[in-house]
Symmetry: C2
Subunit: 403 residues, 2 copies
């Protein structure tokens, strides 16, 4: 049942640096620690943000978190960019009883891939997300009501701008590295192109230089389902639409293999002919219900539209990816997963080939994983992914004043 | 942009018969003709059909079409099985002005893969489909109203039973071959297992021995979208739900490569922020609108549920695929397409390996096509697919009294 598992093409494997091979063979690393309790933080910008589309959104506030200590010379900053449904809470716990730690706790902490003994890691919740940053749920000062569909259209570049503003509010001008997966990878990539002189390294996981028509098509169906629900059933309908959108998104993060190995064709006892006969249906409904408790249909509309519009060649090269890539100064690494059909390795390979042809420092590591797009969040992929992250972040880090 | 194109694994290629290689190298075949005008036909069964679930559905009628002439000894019959949204109209035209011929006109006609100079081809519209066979749109004699959601649940086996009844009404007991793609391939496969002594050859295109959890998951979302529309918006809502379901299904029939090559990231002039910015969105909406004109949400619910339940090992082997496959007497060929992510080659390979291990005559031809699940309907795949079909159907056909 692993027919979709494809070994990385030889030419991709060949782009792996020799130092990475060494890292993969290294002795057991120092044992990992936890970041422990962390506090949500908040930056407020009363004058707001000039958006890509020309509008000004004001006021704006941003939720963020940090892990590790900022070096006195501020040379050890890693900006971590979360994915579509993530938020600023990337590691540790807000209180001792919190059931699950932040979304990338696997990789953030003492001796982890993003080593808090060395680096100061900051993660900013994006605009339009429901986790504390200004969003369609915020009050529109013009009406005193939530923005909802009156929120302005946003782009990945607007997310980057808000991250820049938060960093500047902390006196940080330059990043040692920017790291992200999926839509977070889009931001990491956009940082390297938009602010080349501010980024020393960029690590882009499972994200290409532009969203594919497959991504746009899947997002279109998800948005239309929410909008159909809203039209016919008001907020209840929009919420059910969000559940269905999430189910579709969730499938696109998994793989044929993952679905077979998790569910196969198992049936469920709580049979209802149209809604649940099979475990996979029951699972999707359950996951969508929990998603509904933590997300919002309006936010989902805006974030997916920002994702669709993502196209670095268009934004920075007048439609020419090569011209856009000429701007890059950072050392870049792209990471892909063989069974990722949402952002398949071919998309990242396109970007790497252009960068390499321009003499830029860029490589592409394709990890053989059957767990689909979500591989970067899956614990059992950690033995493969951790050294790929750690080697990239720790290589040539001599000038970094880790504390 | 063809990263998802995967060469057939060596062991699959090795299963290709030497005669097929010969066919692929053969001289240009005789020139193809057309079947011309055809008439829809109809069989009525007042006593109806005993369904798998124990209910009797009565009365039942079936729409069907035939191409070519039935040999006096009835030895030249090919039962062709249509896919989810297809019908009995597989070739030719109902009237000279009909815009498009039947759905598999590419492969049916004089000197085509299904050669009407030799074979008598029959295609029966399935139960629950809106093209003339009894369906949720038919009048329920108990109420005088359309069945809609009071239609009984159906299975692929019920489709096979109706095909059997139509064939018997024409005095046909045995099939020279049964051929089908996608859900049509499921029927072809089920015929070979359910009625082993009646089937000489079975040609199963892009269909496995059981629906995967990926198929079930995609169908679940599609059905829930229709049901959400129905709940909140009545028939209008159900129709919009059907459009969204079709868009998702349509994507699952295509591939990353197909979407890039058809649309890329092209935008459209008729911009509306939430509904259409990109060509691929405009295309999906257009295709869904035309689908709505020819299909029905209730029918869609029933047909996809039949698809989910398909599992030959469960039905004929008490859960054991091997035991089910022991029944097969036909010579079988399975055809897959490398970029098909809905019914990937691994599913067909599973079936072939079991059949081969039992000493059955079965092979698996994996066609390297970037056009996804729909490859068997795509004209440019014809040079690859036609010889694979034709060689299988014409090999060892000496006893067939073609007219």
């Amino acid at each position: 049942m692993t027919g979709e598992r494809v070994a990385p093409p030889r030419d991709l494997q060949a782009t792996m640096e020799p130092t990475l091979d060494a890292a993969l063979r290294a002795d057991a690393p120092a044992s990992e620690g936890e970041v422990g309790l962390v506090a949500p933080q908040r930056a407020v910008f009363p004058n707001g943000l000039a958006l890509t589309n020309g509008q000004r959104l004001a006021p704006v506030e941003a939720a963020y978190e940090t892990y590790g200590a900022l070096a006195p010379d501020k040379s050890n900053v890693i900006l971590l960019c979360h994915a579509l449904s993530g938020g600023a809470h990337a590691a540790g716990r807000h209180h001792p009883d919190e059931r699950k730690p932040g979304w990338w706790d696997l990789y953030i902490g003492p001796n982890k891939a993003l080593d808090t003994n060395r680096f100061f890691i900051i993660c900013v919740n994006v605009l339009a997300s429901p986790y504390g940053t200004t969003s369609p749920l915020s009050i529109d000062p013009a009406t005193g009501e939530p923005y909802h569909l009156n929120f302005p259209p946003i782009r990945v570049a607007d997310w980057v701008e808000l991250e820049r503003m938060v960093l500047e509010s902390l006196g940080i001008e330059r990043l040692y590295a920017v790291v992200g997966g999926s839509t977070g990878g889009m931001r990491a990539f956009e940082w390297a192109v938009r602010y080349p002189e501010r980024v020393r390294k960029a690590l882009v996981i499972a994200a290409p230089a532009r969203s594919s028509p497959m991504v746009i098509a899947l997002n279109h169906i998800q948005r239309q389902t929410i909008l159909m629900g809203l039209e016919h059933g008001g907020l209840d309908g929009a919420n059910r639409g969000l559940m269905l959108a999430r189910m579709l998104a969730h499938i696109s993060y998994l793989s044929e293999h993952a679905l077979w190995s998790k569910f196969g064709r198992d049936t469920t006892p709580e049979t209802e002919f149209w809604s649940v006969l099979f475990q996979v249906e029951s699972y999707l409904e359950y996951k969508a219900t929990t998603f509904l408790q933590r997300f919002d249909p309006f936010c989902y509309l805006y974030i997916t539209r920002a994702m669709d519009a993502f196209d670095l060649g268009y934004t920075y090269g007048g439609g020419d990816l090569r011209r856009a890539m000429e701007r890059v100064q950072a050392t870049m690494r792209f990471v892909s997963f063989t069974s990722d059909w949402l952002f398949p390795p071919s998309g990242q390979q396109e970007a790497v080939e252009v960068l390499q042809s321009l003499g830029k420092r860029a490589d592409h590591v394709v990890i053989d994983s059957p767990w689909g797009h979500d591989s970067f969040l899956v614990e059992r992929v950690k033995p493969q992914l951790k050294p790929v992250l750690k080697e990239f972040l720790e290589r040539d880090a001599d000038g970094v004043a880790g504390v």
